[in-house]
Subunit: 453 residues, 2 copies
Amino acid sequence: MESKKFILQEKDIPTAWYNVMAEMPVKPRPMLNPATKKPLTPEDLYPLFSEEVSRQEFNDTDKWIEIPEEVRDMYRIWRPTPLVRARGLENALDTPAHIYFKNESVSPVGSHKLNSAIPQAYYCKKQGVTNITTETGAGQWGAALSLAAKHFGLELAVYMVKVSYHQKPYRRSIMQTYGAEVIASPSMSTKAGRKIITDHPNYQGSLGTAISEAVELAMSTPNCKYTLGSVLNHVALHQTVIGLEAEKQMEMAGEYPDIVIGCFGGGSNFSGISFPFLRHNFSGERSTRFIAAEPASCPKLTRGVLQYDFGDEAGYTPLIPMYTLGHDFSPANIHAGGLRYHGAGAVVSQLRENGLIEAVDIPQLETFAAATLFAQAEGIIPAPESSHAIATAIREAKKAKESGESKVILFNLSGHGLIDMAAYDQYICGDLQNYEIPESEIEANVSKLEKLL
Amino acid sequence: MESKKFILQEKDIPTAWYNVMAEMPVKPRPMLNPATKKPLTPEDLYPLFSEEVSRQEFNDTDKWIEIPEEVRDMYRIWRPTPLVRARGLENALDTPAHIYFKNESVSPVGSHKLNSAIPQAYYCKKQGVTNITTETGAGQWGAALSLAAKHFGLELAVYMVKVSYHQKPYRRSIMQTYGAEVIASPSMSTKAGRKIITDHPNYQGSLGTAISEAVELAMSTPNCKYTLGSVLNHVALHQTVIGLEAEKQMEMAGEYPDIVIGCFGGGSNFSGISFPFLRHNFSGERSTRFIAAEPASCPKLTRGVLQYDFGDEAGYTPLIPMYTLGHDFSPANIHAGGLRYHGAGAVVSQLRENGLIEAVDIPQLETFAAATLFAQAEGIIPAPESSHAIATAIREAKKAKESGESKVILFNLSGHGLIDMAAYDQYICGDLQNYEIPESEIEANVSKLEKLL
């Protein structure tokens, strides 16, 4: 375990986010108004989101977008984060590959989610908003937004996916300790929640449903905006601080990644670690591989279709061009709650269609085996979500061993798993399982999408 | 929340521990053999501990003791740790005081305990030991030793205080994920455990009992040593990396602490943050105040007596000169499991007797109020143990506000509380209480001590 850290100074915190849309060879298709089927404008989003992130959502011209000083001030609590050469893991695998990870788990809430929670709360506050809503899966995003809301003096209501509300009570308590209100979703507090509870009384919730509830509450509450922790372009934008720092740190290490890996739910941490490196592929300077690691039980990038679909279950959001399993796809109760989402963001979907990124899907048991090996070799207990990236890095390191190539692998450790120990407990006891999704189920969901257009 | 971090580089990790015993104006009384009442020698401890820590335990001549390179290698996983100017907390308190905290919660196991777990495991391994045992309260020490044992290839059995085993199942799972065996104490696996279960069937355990069980197992297992996470001189020695780093960081901040605060169970983190600064009091150069913050329900330094006592409940250990509530004092089930110990280490006890350090005792509800304020102001959810230090820092900051003095306060954030969210949950729900210890109970326990000599 002679792992080596590469440490930046506070002055190295990026001053601008990297906007990948400005440089994509093929821009993503526009979001559509579901009623008129017309492309949306930033103004169409103003009722739902802060004006600034609405504009960021459509900005495909400015390569760099300045990070407000108030946001950087709060980033300073934990940023820059370390980059680590994982020699302990390399030794355990006896691989010639060099494995690096960017450690986003060191944030006070334990994940990368704070990178976007801060600007989203800040822009709301700046605009005079008093209340915000959101959804959360495993609770990583909800915890991050709770802290950011408290800092900027906003009231926050969080709809937390019911299965995680019960599986991960500690993360609910974290949000409450920061001062947020937390509601298990589906709930009786919204029309969308009541409908799904009525139709499926035992439904344990999904991110899609929780988004519907949070959107509905925001739209029906005065001076209230909705915020989203993944999927959208502005979230990916904010997360690029991860890759921008990692780029400097790889330079300190004197290496450049052959492969960059992030786990994949809606795209926020994968985009954050990947896009800054991807720009050197655009310029032809590099030919790095980018791998999105998704759960085998929620395989939109590997087994879904690129189609216009709703971002939520009830159909409140605009139509988004996404790789999707259909917005009423009901994901299995895996512990990687943050990856239980039916679709991929528009930018990642476009990059995938153009062959600029790859995707793999990993069964749950493989992710926990990888997580345990990583914990013992590097000391850090990873989040179940991040363990998908670790499992993928291990697969690539084993391939490097077979081929004898000394590949440089970089993955994003998006969060720690200290709140997920009940899941590890089940794994240790042999109580966890893999989930197979029959092709017929995907086809049935996806075939409904055509009528949306 | 414009808190400022002071970040050191890996080269700033100390190369030697500071041995306070070499400079104390009055050395601590010697440990005694309970049968012969004669002072112990290092050799007397060899059956129980590794030879190197046995020698360190008695070393009162060498001011600096070199840190082995193998230990520094593993320190590099997370050290140096940040020092933070807690401007968020200062603002919330509207105090002229400058509040700093050393953030030991960033270690992979979430606390300072790894600082001593690593050398203890290393010295055992170096000597050819194959198995080790220990006790743990809240599980912080047990988790740290589990990781260190795995790293050096040692088998480990941990006796975990029963109340924490049930209150904090996640920390048990962390130890198991690192590969350790965890037994709830009191257990039927040892004579000491069987006796106390028979005498008190519902007893929820204490550190004193768990130590007895771990010592008994070590003594009856071939090639097995015992390790302890607090109380003893060598543990305090290893923890001085905290204060040595903090000293450099206060220099970066251009200030020197008027008050240094650590929470107090057996003394490990309090000693670690204090001793390096205390040496400048010895030299007359400074007159810093040092405050040990203990729970009102386990008040050995504020309400106990300085007496020879056993370190464990069953009386297996040497007699230690300690401020104590008596080794069969049964602490209330507060959530700060790491502070539920009847005695204080010999060095701290001596310093206290000589008026070189102070102590305060804090009721449980005050610690959770302080913890919640800190979490909202600084983002980090503190361990219930560390919250005693925070509450004390807040008391001192309020005094500074009343007197209008700009005091510089430094406290050690010994760990985070992410595994303790069930405790926060109870606090939020109003289910926590304070515990008063009647003077008669302390007198009854303490009066039995005289017959030990």
